[in-house]
């Protein structure tokens, strides 16, 4: 391996710094995962991300339909939650504890398995437990995989255990979620929030006030809420806008759902779910809309939307919705987009 550059032109180095850089060079070159392993991980994560998106990673569910006193019109809801900084205490899953049980391995084999497990799960360390079952030694390798790693620890551990068993090394993997009481932003807590509002015997104004109150309790104080009586029915609109700067911390996705009920049962109908994101980069603003109606989902990207007129944006979005078979009408006013179902 080539020697380090001893110093930049005209500069001197400290011996510690030079030796440390050399150590970093050597350590960072140790035990790289194979390209095939990296590609497998990338493709798995990509698939999981796409599945989470389709499952409605960020959902506002709105439905007013199929009751005599409800309008056939369905409100379009766009919900995005701004980052909030009010800390609260709540319980969440912080990671997965993985235990890999092995029998009949030698010391060197255990070392090798531990090293591979550590590499696959990107763990900081792997702990070894030695046990005796019916007089025969067995071993358990344990490690903790934080949720933030984004890895499907259970799947990886199971696949690894199977590959070991297939090669003649009996192995079983057990993965246990670890839940802890943590303090975090209200936004983080609201990730799993479902807001349920009963419409029984309430006026539109009362329903609107209750939705506002429930959102405020969840820390969302800047939502635009509107509940109006139209054409013998009721229309509900809920909107919270967010804007992301490319390269800046992206607000994490949330699972806030709004569910209206009558007589204790959810009100359903051919609702329209829309998620709108505006991402600003050096080259301009990209508008991204995820639209779902009656099981059909489409993602519409409109690059350089900041250079387009309202009419151009409207035409582009309408054309893409038609292509996707989604029946909706689009309005754009000063860049603000509204999409409503035609049902």
């Amino acid at each position: 391996m080539a020697n380090l550059h001893s110093s930049a032109p005209g500069e001197e180095s400290t011996p510690d710094l030079t030796n440390d850089l050399r150590a970093l060079r050597d350590e960072s070159a140790r035990d790289p995962l194979s390209l095939a392993q990296h590609v497998v991980t990338i493709r798995t994560r990509r698939l999981q991300a796409a599945q989470a998106r389709r499952a409605g990673f960020m959902v506002i569910k709105e439905s007013v339909k199929s009751r005599p006193w409800l309008a056939s019109g369905v409100a379009v809801v766009v919900l995005a939650v701004a980052m909030l900084i009010i800390p609260i205490s709540y319980t969440r899953t912080t990671g997965q504890q993985v235990a890999l049980k092995l029998v009949g391995l030698s010391d060197s084999q255990l070392r090798a398995v531990a090293a591979q497990l550590k590499a696959l799960l990107h763990s900081d360390h792997v702990a070894l437990l030695t046990m005796s079952e019916s007089g025969a030694p067995s071993y358990v390798l344990e490690t903790f995989v934080p949720s933030a790693s984004g890895l499907n620890a259970a799947m990886i551990a199971q696949a690894f255990a199977k590959s070991l068993s297939d090669r003649g090394y009996p192995a079983t993997a057990v993965t246990t979620p670890v839940r802890e009481r943590v303090s975090g932003s209200v936004y983080a807590y609201a990730k799993d929030l479902v807001i349920q509002v009963s419409t029984d015997g309430k006026t539109s104004a009362q329903i609107e006030a209750e939705i506002r109150q429930r959102l405020a309790e969840a820390g969302i104080t800047d939502a635009q809420v509107s509940v109006t009586d139209e054409g013998g029915g009721r229309k509900v609109k809920l909107s919270v806008q967010r804007t992301a700067q490319a390269g800046q911390p992206q607000p994490p996705e949330s699972n806030i759902s709004l569910q209206l009920t009558k007589d204790g049962k959810p009100i359903t109908g051919p609702g329209l779910m829309v998620e709108i994101k505006r991402t600003h980069t050096a080259s301009g603003m990209t508008l991204t809309l995820d639209v779902t109606q009656a099981g059909k989902t489409t993602t519409i990207d409109v690059p350089h939307a900041d250079t387009m007129t309202d009419a151009q944006i409207k035409a582009e979005v309408e054309a893409r919705l038609r292509q996707a078979g989604i029946d909706a009408r689009v309005s754009v006013t000063n860049g603000q987009i509204g999409i409503e179902s035609n049902h």
């Binding site: 110093s7 960072s28 070392r111």
Partner: protein, 215 residues
């Protein structure tokens, strides 16, 4: 997977294979840990996959890939801005390697690497890149300038400032506590290790197989 997408993966893997290990090492050197470096590398590979159609000449793939790597690195640096507000101990936890009979030199090498990784993490992204690419990757000033999309004087300035900050860091922190954490102790906030220390943990062995075939 659709045939076209599968072809694209095949093409990307063929282009990447010749220098894959070096690129992984570079990614790790730009980050605070091997795990973070592997994440950066995977982000870059994914980005390269998505943008492969924009590559005009396959002969330029390597420099194109490295430029993508540096872009992803800077994006991640901006994204991790809030981490800088964390207390030092949380931002740089002392990860203790399990006890090893053969700790000695290896443990010291690991701690040296971690120490300089911590120091590099305090540099702005462009200075960190310049130091890593010039000092460790041993690229020429001209090559570094080309990858960073900067002028030669700008790269020289980044190197000078980066080294100056590193020297200051070493003067301030000197023998940081984490450097001697190799021989036991626990990582603050980490899961308690209920292990029986058998001194058997060592990372360098490849897994032996009973049969010669692989899946």
């Amino acid at each position: 997977m659709e045939p076209l997408a599968e072809n694209r993966w095949t093409k990307l893997i063929a282009l990447l294979e010749p220098f894959h290990e070096q690129a992984v090492a570079t990614s790790r050197r730009l980050c605070r840990s091997s795990a973070e470096g592997d994440d950066l590398y995977q982000e870059t590979v994914l980005r390269a996959y998505e943008k492969l159609h924009t590559l005009r000449e396959e002969s330029r793939f390597r420099s194109w890939f490295y430029a993508t790597l540096l872009n992803r690195h800077r994006t991640r640096m901006r994204r991790s801005f809030w981490r800088r507000l964390l207390p030092w101990e949380q931002a740089f936890p002392n990860g203790a390697e399990p006890a090893d009979r053969n700790s000695g030199d290896r443990a010291e090498e690991i701690m040296r690497a971690r120490r300089v990784a911590r120091a590099l993490a305090t540099l702005p992204a462009v200075q960190r890149e310049a130091v890593v690419l010039f000092e460790i990757e041993c690229l020429s000033i001209e090559s570094v300038a080309s990858l960073q999309g900067a002028s030669i004087p700008a790269v020289k300035s980044r190197l000078a400032r980066g080294r100056s900050k590193l020297r200051s860091w070493y003067e301030r922190h000197g023998d940081v506590p984490g450097v001697n954490a190799a021989r036991g102790g626990s990582t603050p906030g980490a899961r308690p290790a209920r292990a029986i220390d058998t001194g058997m943990m060592h990372e360098s062995l490849a897994i032996p197989v009973k049969e010669s075939s692989h899946g």
